[in-house]
Every structure is written in structure tokens, then in C-alpha cells.
């Protein structure tokens, strides 16, 4: 183990910020002991809990593993040694009191990486203790371990600096993950990890304890503070843990005669069980034997409530697939094609990774979210926590605030930022609004409406159509659907009211790109012909997804074609709508643009429709009837605007987003070009599109294997999910990987590299089965 770990240390040090979290088995209960402050008795609680676990009657854990990842003041202070020393003695007293079969305890204590300043170097400690009579010997093990130890009794970030032993977060996480994955013999194992200092005390790199251990999201035992002011520090620490997405299994604190426990019991009622310990003797010469005896019922009830917390958690997770099939109706999903055991149970998310619970293995597995949760996954793990804090703040400050004739800071700030330019995306509501805006503008420009009180529709003389491209997709509400060409989404079956109110042009994809004059004459011919043959019908808006058509199959449209299309429409005074703005790629600007999805970092829904001043002017008058009568109770809601402000700034700032190319102030290429080339040359691959956060692979397919309803790629998808920890979804015969704007090139490369061997074997399998 040690050699493996030393190797790991070097390995993970060199591979920088690769947040490749490992699986967390739920076969063993595991908890992290956090403190409301330093000096509140975390180690006493750990020792008491460990002893209580070892002493509990069968079925009790056969092994208890205790880990102290970060220790300072070493070797004078060693929490692991304290647990190793005291737990056996406590166990003896508990066994004496409780009876039961005779027990043989094998205990060890071990320090992996002492700093160069540590003197003397600690030796591994081993002991075997026998309790009780002869018959029915029960074997138990206690494995105590310290990972990093520094000499000075200061915060790890200072000790690491002063003693020349820096440690990166990924090292700590890697080692904790390995420890969690370790299996010790056959019986039940419990794991107890003791953090350093308070919940928000810095680790060696400066990362706070609560952030350092977030990836495994162990349920917390919070050791509260019984002193004056301790209610405040306990509740604040509790809130800090919640703001990192932890579940707190129990609170336990010393009784210092101030009734802090009584207050906390009442305040935390229905949320967290609170346990009380007798006053800890202040005399340093007291060996605490009596105190531990007095505390045994508190530790026993702590143990019981943690056991019950763990059982309920696993039980609930085990039941979720079945319940979901019974209670939920998923969009875009034929339920009969989803076997109950293929439902993904998502326990949490940390940056780019889902934590998916595998029922079969009772294990939580990190899966790279390769769909970027439908274009909404923006945050890395740091931004996620920032957003959490901002969401708490915005909810507490604003709750909900309606928008018309009002202004609040997040809405204003968000508008300022958006009008300063941003990156991405659509939202069907934004599209519906954009169309209404465009039509009004067209009507004004072309003298179609004179009298705002008269409804010209009844005369049947004017019809508005939209100019759009085949294969485009703008959302699922009726207005947004009318603006797209017929497809599986628009059939009578799906939307009986769909009629397709557009002139839909065939866009050239980049593979077939040709000269500009061919494009211009095609566009011009189509528009003129339409105008000639449809007297009462006006093309009153152009709507396009710039460059990439997503839901239509990840097609890359020739930007030159779109640029010329926009130019032609502007000449004809047809308002131009961009569904997601990529103005810089097209080199031209829309009259109206729609944003959603990624804009809030994917944390809450918010759509924005931006318009130029001339569009706005078309709605102005002295009558409310000409105003834009389209809204939503949640228009510009403060939570969404707050999230958008944080996310937009984060994406654009090179100090938070390392993917920003400082010279050109745009996103670096994220997908390794050698790997992309290699994939595109594989025999069954038709094309590979890699642009920005997207890498899409279209498989060669014909007949029923092609198109939206195809199941062609589903076995590959299953393999990616089950074996490579990549959560991907097929889009017919297209497979895509999508990452967030802050996802490192390193992570992208790692996912793409996993794809290569899969493709080779998939094609082989496929040929065997079908061909």
C-alpha cells in the first residue's frame, strides 16, 4: 500500500488539476468528522465513535478504518495515535459493561508522509488485544492512518509552506479515494475521516477543508461547540457544510453548562440529530478514562444515528430507479425502451462529473457529463461552489421579484453584461418573444400595420412567415416549432397544430462549401420566387442557429452562407434573429438574439432576448396595446440574473477560466486535434465535428439506423456509461462529447482518448451482429 501511495503521490503531483474522482463504495458506511472550530474535541469524538463501533454487538463492523489526512504539530500531536492508543482501552471497558463473545482486536497506526522537518520519524505501531473468555473468538481490526504530517502546530497551509512540503488538493483527494475504495477482509467496514481545524480551515494548498473533501461528499459528523458563542459557530459551520452540498448526519457537542445543546436540539429539530457529551475535564493530566465511560451512551447513540442515516440513504438510493419509472415522465424518452436498471441515479454533481449511484455495486461512481446536461453545464467545481453561495445570497436578499416597471441589481447587472457581449444559447420562450419582436418590426418597416386597433388578420390578406434553415431547432413550444422545418419533432403525432410557417432553405455544411456567388444567387432566387408566388405571405423574420445546428444532428453550417443570408435579409429589411449568439464566428450581427442555458451556469433557468434599439422602437407608442404583451412571472428573476452575472464573468475572466486564450481573448481549442483526426479516419465514422466545447461523431448508418429514432449507437453509449464513466446520450447515429467552457483541455483529452478504443471495438461488434 505504502509504495503504491508514494507512487501515486508523485503521479498525481505531476498530472496537475485532473479532477478524476474515484468511486465511493456505500457498502461501508463512511463519515467525515468536521469541527465547528478547532479545539472542540473532534479527536475525542472520533475515538469514542471508533470504540463504540468496535464494541457494538453483532452484526457489528469487523474493521474500523480511521484516517487523518492532514496533521500538524506532529509527532507531539497525532490524532491517529490517540485513536490507536485509546480505542482499545475504551473497547475493553465497553466489553466489560456489555458482555458478548470474546474478541481479538488487531490494531495498527501508521504515518505515510511526514514532512522533512518531522523529528523523530514515527514508526508503524501494531498491537493485538484479546478481550473476554475463550469461546467464540471474534476478530476485529482497527486501522489508523495519518497521511501528511508537519511539525509545526499551525494551520497546514502555513506548515506546508514553512517546512517545504507542499501538497496539492488532487493528491489528498486521490489518497482519500483510494482509502475509501480499500476493502478490508469480508465483514462490515466502517470508515471515519477526521478533518483538520474547523469546516473552513485551509488545507496545505489553501483550499478549505469543506472544499477539499467535497468530491467524495462523505456525510458529515459535525462536532459542535459547547462554549459561549458556540451556538453561533456551530450553526455557521453547519451552514458552510450545506453550502458545499454536504449532508450532516449528526451534530455532537460538549455540555459546558450553557445549554447550547438544548438550543441546537430545538433549532435543528427535524433536520439533524444532536448528541451531548459530558464536560471534558480541563486538567491535562486527566487520562479521560472516566469521561469516556460517562460518554459511552452518547457515543452509542451517535453510532446508532449514523448507522440509521447510512441505511436510509442506501435504501432510498436503491429504490429510486423503480420509483422513477413509476412516478416520472421523461421528455424525449420512450419509457418502454428504458429498462429500469438503466436509469441513472444521480446522487450529486461536482464540476463536470455526475456522481451516479450504481445499484448493483452499491457504489457511487463519478461520470463525466458528456452531454454537458444539454448545453447547460458551465461550472467547474470552483464555480459551482461560488454559484451556490450566490444562490443562497440572492434567495435571502430577493426571493422573487416581479419585473415590469421594476429594477433590481441582478437584472440590471445582467443586462449590462449581456449588452457587453456574451457567449451562448437559446430558450424556446426567448424565441417566441424574438419572433414577436421581429414581426412587429417587419410590419412597421413594410407599412403593414397602420391602425393598432384594427386586426388585419380577419381580412386574411397578410400572413407572416419566417426564413429558416432545414435542420434547425429552436425549442418545443408551438411558436418556436413553427419556425423549424418538418422533422420527427413536428409530426402530427407530436404537435397536431404544427404547420411549419417558414421558407426553409438547405444550408451547405462545411464539407460541401463552395463559392460565395453560388450562395448569393441561391438565397436571392429563393426569396424572390417565394415573394412572387405568395402574394399575401411575407417572409417577416430570419431565424438561424449560428454555425452549429444542435438537435438537428450537430451539423456545422458554412459560416459564409449564414453571413450572406444575414446580409441579404438586412438588405430586404427582414429582421434577423440569432438563436444563441456567435456573432464573432459569423462576423455579423443580428437584430435580435436569444440566450439561455449556459448563461446561468446551468444552475437555474433564465432566457434573455436582446434587441436593437430600432426593434424596441417598433413597440413604442402611447398605448399599452402596442407594447410587447408577452411575459412570464419569472421574467428577469433575481436568482437567474445573479447566477448569470457570476457565470458570464467567470467564463470571460482568464483568472478563473484557464481556457481563455489571452492573446485573442477567445476560447482555446479544447479537443486534441490528433485524436480528432484519428477518430475521423476510422472506417465507420462519417464525419467528426469539433468546435468550442463540442466534439460530435457521426457514424455511417443507413435506413432505420440513421436519423432521430435510431438505436444504432445505444450499445456504444451503454459501454461508455458503464465502463468508461462517460455519461453520453445518442442523437440518432451521432455521438457527442460536450464539456463546459472552463473544462480543461486535459480532461477533454482524457475523455476523447477513452472514446478511441471503444469505437474500434464497437464497430467490430456491430459488424459481427448486424453486418
Amino acid at each position: 500500500m505504502l509504495r503504491l501511495l508514494r507512487h501515486a503521490r508523485r503521479h498525481s503531483t505531476s498530472s496537475s488539476s485532473s479532477a478524476a474522482a474515484a468511486a465511493v463504495p456505500l457498502t461501508s458506511p463512511a463519515f467525515a468528522v468536521f469541527g465547528a472550530n478547532t479545539g472542540v474535541g473532534k479527536t475525542l469524538v472520533s475515538a469514542g465513535l471508533v470504540a463504540s463501533l468496535l464494541a457494538s454487538p453483532s452484526p457489528s463492523p469487523s474493521t474500523v478504518a480511521y484516517l487523518k489526512p492532514l496533521q500538524t504539530g506532529f509527532p507531539d500531536d497525532s490524532d491517529a495515535r490517540f485513536v490507536f492508543d485509546r480505542a482499545p482501552a475504551l473497547l475493553r471497558r465497553l466489553r466489560l459493561a456489555g458482555g458478548g463473545a470474546s474478541t481479538r482486536l488487531v490494531a495498527s497506526n501508521h504515518t505515510l508522509f511526514p514532512s522533512p522537518a518531522v523529528d523523530p520519524l514515527p514508526e508503524r505501531q501494531d498491537t493485538v488485544v484479546n478481550y473476554g473468555g475463550e469461546e467464540g473468538v471474534e476478530e476485529k481490526a482497527l486501522v489508523c492512518r495519518t497521511v501528511y504530517a508537519w511539525r509545526e502546530p499551525v494551520s497546514p497551509h502555513l506548515a506546508a509552506e514553512r517546512e517545504g512540503m507542499p501538497v496539492e488538493d488532487e493528491e489528498v483527494r486521490w489518497l482519500v479515494d483510494r482509502w475509501l475504495a480499500e476493502e478490508d477482509g469480508g465483514g462490515e467496514v466502517w470508515k471515519v475521516l477526521e478533518t483538520a481545524g474547523g469546516v473552513a480551515s485551509p488545507g496545505p494548498s489553501g483550499t478549505l477543508q469543506c472544499d477539499l473533501y467535497r468530491s467524495s461528499r462523505l456525510p458529515a459528523v459535525l462536532v459542535g461547540d459547547g462554549r459561549l458563542g458556540g451556538i453561533s459557530s456551530t450553526l455557521s459551520a453547519y451552514e458552510t457544510l450545506l453550502l458545499r452540498g454536504y449532508d450532516v448526519g449528526s451534530v455532537i457537542l460538549e455540555d459546558r453548562g450553557l445549554s447550547n445543546d438544548r438550543f441546537l436540539l430545538s433549532y435543528l429539530r427535524k433536520r439533524v440529530p444532536v448528541h451531548v457529551l459530558p464536560p471534558i475535564p480541563e486538567d491535562p493530566k486527566d487520562d479521560l478514562t472516566d469521561w469516556f465511560s460517562e460518554s459511552s451512551s452518547a457515543f452509542s447513540s451517535l453510532k446508532d444515528s449514523l448507522q440509521s442515516f447510512h441505511s436510509r440513504r442506501v435504501q432510498r438510493l436503491n429504490s429510486m430507479q423503480r420509483k422513477s419509472k413509476y412516478l416520472l415522465w421523461w421528455p424525449f424518452t420512450q419509457h418502454d425502451l428504458v429498462p429500469v436498471d438503466s436509469v441513472t441515479v444521480i446522487d450529486s454533481r461536482f464540476g463536470e462529473n455526475f456522481s451516479a449511484y450504481k445499484v448493483k455495486d452499491k457504489t457511487i461512481v463519478p461520470q463525466f457529463d458528456a452531454c454537458a446536461s444539454w448545453w447547460t453545464q458551465g461550472p467547474d467545481s470552483n464555480l459551482q461552489i461560488e454559484l451556490a453561495r450566490d444562490m443562497g445570497y440572492a434567495a435571502a436578499r430577493y426571493g422573487h421579484v416581479m419585473f415590469p416597471e421594476n429594477v433590481h441589481e441582478p437584472a440590471l447587472r445582467c443586462a449590462e453584461l449581456l449588452l457587453g457581449g456574451v457567449g451562448k444559447d437559446n430558450g424556446s420562450t426567448a424565441i417566441e418573444i424574438a419572433l414577436k419582436m421581429a414581426f412587429r418590426k417587419y410590419a412597421c418597416d413594410h407599412g403593414i400595420i397602420v391602425d393598432s386597433e384594427k386586426d388585419i388578420r380577419s381580412e386574411g390578406s397578410v400572413h407572416f412567415k419566417v426564413l429558416a434553415l432545414n435542420g434547425s431547432y429552436h425549442g418545443d413550444t408551438l411558436g418556436a416549432m413553427e419556425a423549424q422545418a418538418p422533422s420527427a419533432y413536428t409530426s402530427f403525432l407530436q404537435q397536431p397544430w404544427y404547420s411549419g410557417r417558414g421558407l426553409f432553405l438547405d444550408p451547405p455544411t462545411v464539407d460541401t462549401s463552395s463559392a460565395a456567388n453560388v450562395y448569393v444567387s441561391y438565397i436571392s432566387h429563393q426569396l424572390s420566387q417565394y415573394a412572387m408566388s405568395n402574394n399575401s405571405e411575407h417572409i417577416a423574420a430570419l431565424i438561424i442557429e449560428p454555425v452549429i445546428q444542435g438537435a438537428g444532428g450537430m451539423h456545422l453550417i458554412d459560416p459564409l452562407f449564414q453571413r450572406l443570408l444575414v446580409k441579404e435579409c438586412k438588405n430586404r429589411k427582414i429582421p434577423v434573429i440569432f438563436d444563441e449568439s456567435a456573432s464573432e464566428l459569423l462576423g455579423c450581427f443580428p437584430d435580435i438574439s436569444c440566450y439561455a442555458k449556459l448563461m446561468t451556469g446551468g444552475i437555474v433557468p433564465l432566457a434573455a432576448t436582446l434587441a436593437t434599439e430600432p426593434i424596441f422602437e417598433a413597440f413604442r407608442s402611447d398605448s399599452k396595446l402596442t407594447a410587447l404583451l408577452h411575459g412570464h412571472s419569472y421574467t428577469a428573476h433575481p436568482m437567474g440574473c445573479t447566477a448569470a452575472v457570476k457565470a458570464i464573468q467567470w467564463y470571460k475572466d482568464p483568472s478563473t477560466n484557464s481556457n481563455i486564450d489571452l492573446d485573442r481573448m477567445k476560447l482555446k481549442e479544447l479537443w486534441d486535434s490528433a485524436l480528432v483526426n484519428h477518430l475521423s479516419s476510422l472506417p465507420n465514422v462519417k464525419r467528426v465535428v469539433s468546435l468550442g466545447t463540442l466534439c460530435a461523431i457521426e457514424l455511417k448508418a443507413e435506413g432505420s439506423d440513421a436519423g432521430y429514432a435510431s438505436l444504432y449507437a445505444s450499445s456504444l453509449i451503454r459501454q461508455l456509461r458503464e465502463e468508461d464513466n462517460i455519461y453520453a446520450r445518442p442523437l440518432g447515429n451521432v455521438i457527442y462529447l460536450m464539456c463546459g467552457p472552463c473544462t480543461t483541455q486535459d480532461i477533454c483529452t482524457r475523455q476523447l482518448a477513452k472514446l478511441r478504443p471503444r469505437y474500434v471495438s464497437f464497430f467490430y461488434t456491430y459488424c459481427v451482429c448486424y453486418g
Copy 2:
């Protein structure tokens, strides 16, 4: 002052939980000093800041008011006395160092409500001190005050209990509000409020400090902790303040040689300025004179950064109206009819009240949100904070999680709760989905679709229509609009694609209610006639807003009519959609129901469409093409589901919602019936509707005064906003008050009572001007 306050104490004690917050002037900077823990030096910081303020060169504050609302250990400990004693001495030293004109300081210290156990009773202290030479005498005042004082040096909640002087939160808030509103002479005033204990220490009623003072949301000075573990407690305290919606103006902490300040400076960079104080002498005999001298530059920089924080805040608030007119496009609003100075600047919200900034008075005024922010305002001030904590947790745990084929705890829990029955509301996206569901079911039941691959639309032989009521409103996306009868919202001007695909019946309102057989024959006749005269057109869904038609003008529909309509449709196998479910009021159940708005407590958008099993069955097959291909990236997003779970439980639980009638387990009548009757008998009132959280008043109006575009009620609305602190919006000639499901009857009555005199005077004015 004292007498007034004593009276106030009695008054506010008797009026229970009436959260009638007062105005907070921003003409004076005011800050609340919070502690990361007890014993971190809040009072030293207060005294140093006060002295630094008094000493600062002109334009400096002429008065500094210091308030200690809650003091325990009194009179041995008295933070106000400490400030009163030490600030003048500090000021002398600072003046000696800084020079400037001669100064005359008038200082006082005063305790309002000592507990019966306090002995001896404190006397008011007054002093006058002169500094510097003869010429140019500057007058300065220092007013120190303690409000409640208990003898025992324990937490206020214990002291209050033990000494028999309980104090309710509303008393404390009322007194703080009065103190904030006090004007002292002409010059600039600064106000410093010192809290008790740590940020989350309980006040006398048990309410935490951060919650107790939330209504005035004073910007915070957070006194951090320089001791071991102090980084953690400082950051946790900071997060607790953020989770209550506070802005933290500055952090200041003692240097204890652990470089906590260096870490915090780096961590809080770009967020909050951090100031460092020299180590505080531990010798209790040290009078701190030297320490204060050494600290003067830290206090001066604290003062400067608070000054700058305040100026930036006011500047930004002053600019928001102007910017909003330039940058924002409000829905349902004719911008030209909104004068820039009538834009409401919303600084925050606390339960039912907006905190609106009045540019003219530089004051933040609480306004009752009588629109319930368009049916979305659910939380009282407690639920708001609960939701904030949950939002932080859900964001940190989940971020965004896509939905299809996945399950996560909030989505599952939310589905479980919704299927167990809930209260309210629509959402146009939910409606679009509901229509698609209903049409498919209709098609199946009536044998219209046989082959899922064939699109029968092209043959032009089948058209689906919806059965709906005139005056109904289901949202602004095209599909939702098609299901409503023509109105101002559907004109060619607003939505050129609208055609109105429905058979729209005239619903009888309760005033015209008549016998059941008249209804039945009307409904049956309409449906039969439609079927006869439209061969290819099918009524394939019924959609109704149960009981109340909102946007259509707050009409109360006869429940008997709707019940019979539903029955008739069920007989004809026409699927029934309820836009917001009020099944218990109608006494019948829909096939599909739509929820949104209030469901999440108004904190984030989320819509849910619930369907019965037979509806779901109509989409099942072995082809993806028959699945429901309508979705949204944010379908069942964890933030929304988490909020919904908390809000739904909160509304339904009598222990959190005092409006639940325990006997009947439904909402009590919230609007005082005598007041409602009185209003309805006023000469210009046509009708008053009061049901659940809504009380709507229709004014008698004719011609252009009636209907959606009417400006008839706008002067009344202006008066309500400006003078009565009621934020209402007109709906044509209808004025309505809406509250949240947890708003107390007391608050409702108070708002309604304000309305009565307004109506009388409004009608008078109106008659003079127009009649």
C-alpha cells in the same frame, strides 16, 4: 424619546408578529457590527470606528449614534458605556495627531430597558469635552444607547428566560427601526449598531442575530477571529451573513501572529476589504490606550472603506431608474407610459415586503407586494431564509442535472409530493406539454392515428381544437395562446400567428349563476353543433382555469358550470386539462394538470405537468417517435425541485403555516369579510372577489376606462405605492391585493384597511376630474 419607546414596547408586544418594517434612510450611513464569534473584539472595533468617525476632518459626521440592542452581564459589562467612556479619549489623541479646528463633543449614554434583576439601575451619563483652540468651534455629538439589558453574563435567550424579561423580535425591530429613522440635527449622522455574540447567536426570543436584524438589512462590519481556527469561523460567519442576504462592507480582525488576515485578504479579494488590528493586550489592567493609538490607521481605513461602500451603494441606487429605462425591456409594459421616476427600485425583499428605494428621499421603504409578484410570492420571512439555505445546498450538491432517463432526489421527492396533491398554478410550457398529451390521448381514444410513421396532417382531413372558456389565459407561447379566446394579448399586432384554435364558451360568473340543467343543455348544444358543422375538426381537449380567471380580469366562474363541463367532456372522451389545480374546489379531477409559479415558493421557475396513467399509456410503444418529444434543458432541475419540496411542505404544514385551518386542513379566509363587504358597497365598485389569497375589486368603468388598456386605476395605484406602501398593479379597471399562502390575516387586514379610505378619496377625485 424614552416615553415613546416604552409605549412602543407595550404596543408592539401586544400586536404580536406584525412585521411592519419601517423605512431605512440612506442619508446616514449605518452599519451593523457582527462577530465571527464572541470575544473577538466587536466593542473595541465599535469604539475605534466611532472615534475615527468623530475625528475625521470635515465633511465629517456631526453625530455618531451607537446602539447596543441587547446587552447581558449588565451593568458590569456595558458595551455602550465602554464606547461612551473611551471614544472621547481616543478622539483627543486623534485630534492631537491630526490637528484641525477646535471641537466641542457632547456625549451621552443611556439604557432603556434594564431587566428587573439589574442592580444597581444605571443612570443616564452626559459629558461635554472640548478639544483644541478657541477659534472655529465644531460641534459633535456622540449618542450611546443600550436597549435591553440583563444581569447574567449568558446568551440573551437564557437571560431573558431566567430574569423574567422576555422580548419579542418585533419589539427589537421596531426600536431599531425608530433609531434608524431618528434625525439628529442637520449635519451628517453615522449609525453603528453592535450585535450580541456571534452572527448566529440567539437573541432573547431565540431568533438568531442575523435573522433578528434582517428586515433592515444594514450592511455588516464583520469582526473576524485572529486565533487558531479563526479563518474557519470568520469564513463561516461570512457565509451565514450571505445566506441572510446581507452585504458585508468590511472584515476586520486582530493579528494574533497566525497570518489569518493574510489568508482572508487573499480569499476575500475582490469581495470584501479586510483590515488588520494589532494584537490586543491580554492583561486586563491594560487600559488599551496604546493599543488604540497603534490601531488608529486600521480604524481610519475601516472608516474610509465603509464610507466608500456607502457612497457607491447610494450612487448605484440613484442611477438605477435611469439605467433601467435605457437597458431593460419590460413585458406587458408600454415604456412611454412609465415616467423614469416611477420605476420601482427594489433593493431586497423580506417575506411579503419589497424594500423599495425612493430616490427622492434617499430612503428604503418596505412595500407590501400586493401583486404577490404575479402569483409567485409564497414565502414569509422564515420560509425565505429556509429556501435560501436550500438553494445554496442544492446548487452545491447538484448544480444542473439533465432529466431524461435520470433520477435525482429532489425530482423524485417533488413528484411524490405533487402526486400527493398540492395547491396552485400554471406555466405556459406546462400548458404546451399538456395540450400535446391531451391530443395524443384523444387521437388514441378516437382511433385517429393508426400508423405512427404516417403524417395525416398532409391530407388535411383532421384538425384538433380545444374547448375553452372566454376570458381564460394560459400563457404567452403560441400553443398556449391558441387555446385562449381572442383578446388584447392575441391581436395580430401581438402574435401574427395566432388563429384561436378553440371552441370558446361563455362561462357564467357566480353573480349570474343559474340552474344546472341550463348549463348542461348549453354545453351539450355547443359541442353537438360544433361537431355537426365541422366535419374534419375535433374538439380534442378541454382546458380551464378552475374557479378564478386571473389575467382575464379576476373573474370568478361558477364552479357548478365547470364541474358540468368536465363531466360532459369526460363522457365524450375529451381529455380535461386544469391550468392550476383546484380540484377540491370543483369537486372533480382533470386528466392533466399544470403547476408552476407558487410551487417553488417563487424562488426559481419550474413548471410541472401531471398526467393520469391512461394519458401516459397513449405515448407508450416500442418507437421513440411516439414518445413525448417536448422538453427543456432544465426539465425537473434540482434547484426548482428542491425549492418546490420545501415550499409545498411549508404551505401544507400547520406548524409552519398558521393559515391552515386545522379542522378542515385547508386555507382559512384571509380577507376580513366586514371590510370586503364594505368595499363592495362603495358607489364606484362594481364587484369584489375574495377567494384564498386574492381580493380583487372591479371599478365601474365604461368605454376606454374599461378593459386591459385602461389607465383608469393608475392614479389610485400610484397613491397606494407612494403613500400606503402597497405595491399594487392595475389590471385594467381591476385592482387586486394578493398575498402569499402564509401571510397572516393580520397583515391582510392591515392592507385592506388602508385601501378603504383610498377608494373613497379616489372616487371623489375621479369624479371631479372626469365626471
